[in-house]
């Protein structure tokens, strides 16, 4: 029981990070119907920017950790958002009216560019960071096995829930969210009704990149080590999560992220050879779910029109 609870806590923390990245995939897919393959690498860029900003702030002599983290969060969100905007502007906008595979190829190209740019600019070695948010609570103790809820896990879950709330409000209550939903349904009609489609799509990428930066910062704080290749695996997992929950649906992305995180953690904890095959478990689960729910758990059913 104690072991189960501990794994549940770990799984939710991991799932929250996946969920934050998955939102970026799901929003972009919803609005322009393409897999933004470079999104995982935007997450990686966000983690690097957060690391460098944190070191910079520390070296400037600011020692109050919570204030420093808030500053780092803002800097990382802003700078990574610029990356997201640039990627859309260079690689996707010129191909928006092209056939479906074209932006996917530029997305893969952008992913390669971002990875190798980071490798050239910051070196191929892994970047460690000593634990910043330490400590935690012992929830209960069962025969010597402690169930711990660490502070960083609390930070991850609270940040995720908070951001989900903010983005949910943006999508449902603001003019921007209305414009996004309009573009999602019919881009031409939206533009005829006075919605600036280019701007809306750009802002979608900016929002997705900002969330990826948050995920990058949380990943950095949770694991304490990053390198230029983390974007690939995290990106595939997050995309799996988005598909799992039903691509295009915001709550679906969060739910998918949580489920993928839980599957991975429980599989590593309980299955024989678990840690080696945890990715196999997550991907097989994806295939199985898609066979029975071809549009994901919370996705709207696709209506085929001739």
């Amino acid at each position: 029981m104690a072991y189960f609870l501990q794994q549940l806590i770990n799984g939710i923390a991991l799932g929250s990070i996946y969920g934050l990245i998955a939102i970026g995939y799901t929003m972009v897919y919803g609005i322009i119907g393409m897999i933004n393959f470079a999104h995982g690498d935007i997450f990686m860029v966000g983690a690097f920017v957060a690391l460098i900003a944190f070191l910079l702030i520390m070296s400037l002599g600011l020692t109050l950790i919570p204030l420093a983290l808030v500053l780092v969060l803002i800097i990382a969100m802003l700078l990574t958002a610029v990356w997201g905007w640039t990627v859309e502007r260079i690689a996707y906008r010129p191909l928006r009216e092209s056939f479906r595979l074209a932006p996917l190829i530029t997305a893969i190209g952008m992913s390669i560019i971002l990875q190798n740019f980071m490798q050239v600019a910051q070196g191929a070695r892994v970047k460690p960071l000593q634990p910043v948010v330490t400590g935690g609570y012992e929830i209960f103790n069962e025969g010597g096995f402690e169930v711990n809820l660490s502070n960083i896990q609390i930070v991850i879950v609270v940040t995720t829930v908070l951001l989900m709330g903010v983005f949910w409000l943006i999508i449902t209550r603001t003019a921007l969210g209305r414009a996004q939903r309009a573009c999602e349904q019919d881009r031409l009609m939206a533009s005829l009704s006075g919605v600036n489609v280019d701007r809306t799509i750009s802002l979608t990428f900016v929002m997705g990149a900002a969330l990826a930066a948050v995920a990058g910062l949380l990943y950095l704080l949770y694991y304490g080590v990053i390198d230029f290749f983390i974007g690939f695996v995290a990106g595939i997992k997050a995309f799996t999560a988005a598909v799992f929950g039903g691509i295009g649906s915001l709550p679906g992305a969060m739910l998918g992220g949580l489920i993928i995180g839980l599957i991975e953690t429980f599989w590593s904890a309980y299955a024989p050879n678990g840690p080696e095959y945890k990715d196999v478990a997550a991907f097989s689960m994806l295939a199985i779910v898609l066979i029975f729910f071809p549009t994901g758990l919370l996705g709207r059913p696709e209506i085929e029109k001739v």
Partner: protein, 523 residues
């Protein structure tokens, strides 16, 4: 020139504001990523600032945008137009000839000057080489363009595509033997080993591209996990050859069949899924294959891979120095290059087999069903085509060729490990197919030559090091350049190098007559 002072002023102003905005964006992009470098030290990570590099990057963006804006994007006579006209066939004006002639003259003078410079001051060799490279590129570009224009002008009706293909195939057949014989008789110092290895690599990718082309280009199914079939073929052959010591030619069909079987296994669950779901599931299956290969150490030896995979034999004659071998049987002096030339012809034959089979299949009902499914799946189903079987057959056929290529890869390398079957391989093959032009066999071959050849050529180039200084490591930048090339080619020509192939058969004239009706209505 028609550009007045006022127009010039507004142009300058808009170009400047655009360049300043771009420079700011570049600054935000690079301020933390390029401007600061993390350095390992005793106390953990520390930072080292690099303001110079940041300034250079921002400056390149600023001046690049400014010049492009002023002289290309906003100019009413961009100086790039005459060069484009060489290839598009628009009529020339007098000023076009002036621009082309002057550039050619300047390039020739600079090229000649660089030779003189290098002979007088040996210290400036790298600068001279750089100038000569640029001059040669300009001259070759103009010369090919002129020849192209002249050919099109005097012989407009020749079947150029066919001539090009026949010439390409003839060259591919003759290349290894002629270069080998030339080297052996005249000793010109050709790097034969390197050339053959590179062309074998290119041909492997051509074959993989043609195989994936069946799935993506013909059937319109987006497969992000093609490398899984390649891996299955390679491992099946390697395991059979090392445990039962079966020969390459026995295992080749088995490897193809195993890969096709795996294609069916992947295909069955994903048949109900639409495009992008299919993409992610194929990607997931490829990752599963790789993870299993890494972790199933009893069979696959995990990350250590399988080594000592035998080479193919020439009708039972091995290529070696001892015993009854190819060289002793034909009375030749032993040369390790014989084996490589043989491997070249094996992969060439396999690639041609893929190509011929594909173009034959295309004319069969199944091939037409593939193309019909790509164009409109619902219409296809309502016409009574079984889309399940159609999709499965496309998947299995593509997978089979992937398996053949995998077996060849294993026998050529002599060693395989899961390292060789990462997502990057799938991405490269898919990029070759899409950049070449979906469904176009010629385009795929050209894209494979451009991407893989260019990519590999960067590995050993000393010239780049001469230009950029001894610290320059091309291997570090070559993936970066590969990514940039992918994005640039796609943005420049979204249809691919050779534009997208239309269906093999259409209702002839239907489109034309519809257009006619519209025109009649207008009149």
């Amino acid at each position: 020139m028609s550009v007045g002072a006022k127009a010039w002023g507004t142009r300058l102003r808009s170009a400047l504001s655009d360049a300043i905005i771009s420079a700011w964006i570049a600054f935000f992009l690079f301020c933390l990523t390029l401007g600061v470098r993390t350095v390992d030290s005793v106390r953990g990570l520390t930072l080292k600032s690099r303001p110079g590099l940041l300034a250079i990057a921002v400056g390149i963006v600023f001046f690049g945008r400014l010049l492009l804006n002023l002289f290309v994007w906003q100019a009413d006579y961009p100086p790039t137009r005459p060069f484009a006209k060489l290839y598009t066939g628009e009529p020339f004006e007098r000023r076009d000839w002036w621009v082309l002639g002057l550039t050619g003259l300047i390039a020739a003078v600079l090229g000649g000057g660089s030779v003189l410079l290098a002979s007088f001051t040996p210290s400036a060799t790298s600068v001279a080489l750089a100038i000569r490279l640029v001059a040669i590129v300009i001259l070759v570009f103009e010369a090919i363009g002129l020849v192209h224009r002249l050919m099109v002008h005097f012989f407009p009706n020749l079947p150029y595509a066919r001539i090009f293909i026949i010439a390409g195939v003839l060259f591919a057949v003759a290349f290894p033997l002629t270069s080998y014989l030339m080297e052996k008789t005249f000793h010109i110092g050709l790097p034969l080993r390197y050339l053959f290895d590179l062309s074998i690599l290119v041909l492997t990718y051509v074959m993989l591209g043609w195989g994936l082309n069946i799935v993506v280009g013909l059937a319109g199914l987006l497969d992000l996990g093609y490398v899984a079939f390649y891996a299955v073929g390679a491992y099946v052959f390697a395991l059979l050859a090392t445990t039962f010591s079966w020969t390459f030619w026995m295992c080749l069909p088995i490897a193809g069949a195993a890969a096709a079987l795996w294609g069916c296994t992947v295909g069955l669950p994903v048949l109900r899924l639409r495009g992008d779901y299919l993409a992610i599931v194929t990607l997931a299956f490829a990752e599963i294959v790789r993870i299993v290969l890494i972790n199933w150490t009893d069979i696959t030896h995990g990350p250590n891979g399988i080594s000592d995979i035998p080479k193919p034999t020439f009708f039972g004659l091995p290529f070696g120095a001892n015993g009854e071998t190819f060289s002793t049987f034909f009375g030749l002096r032993y040369d390790p290059l014989h084996a490589i030339i043989f491997l070249y012809y094996v992969i060439f034959g396999l690639a041609i087999l893929t190509n011929v089979l594909t173009s034959r299949l295309r004319r069969l009902p199944i091939g037409r069903a593939w193309e019909a499914m790509r164009e409109d799946e619902i219409a296809c189903r309502s016409l009574g085509i079984n889309t399940t079987i159609t999709k499965l057959s496309a998947f299995a056929t593509g997978a089979m060729f992937g398996g053949f290529a995998g077996a060849f890869f294993a026998t050529r390398q002599g060693f395989i490990s899961p390292e060789s079957f990462t997502f990057m391989e799938s991405a490269t093959i898919l990029a070759i197919v899409v950049l070449g032009g979906l469904g176009s066999q010629l385009g795929v071959a050209l894209a494979a030559i451009v991407l893989v050849g260019g990519f590999e050529a960067m590995r050993n180039t000393q010239g780049l090091r001469l230009i950029f200084g001894p610290d320059f490591d091309p291997a570090l930048y070559r993936m970066l350049l590969f990514g940039i090339a992918m994005v640039a080619i796609m943005v420049w020509r979204p249809g691919g190098i050779v534009s997208r192939r239309t269906p093999s058969i259409t209702l002839s004239g239907s489109r034309g007559s519809a257009a006619q009706h519209v025109n009649e209505g207008r009149a």
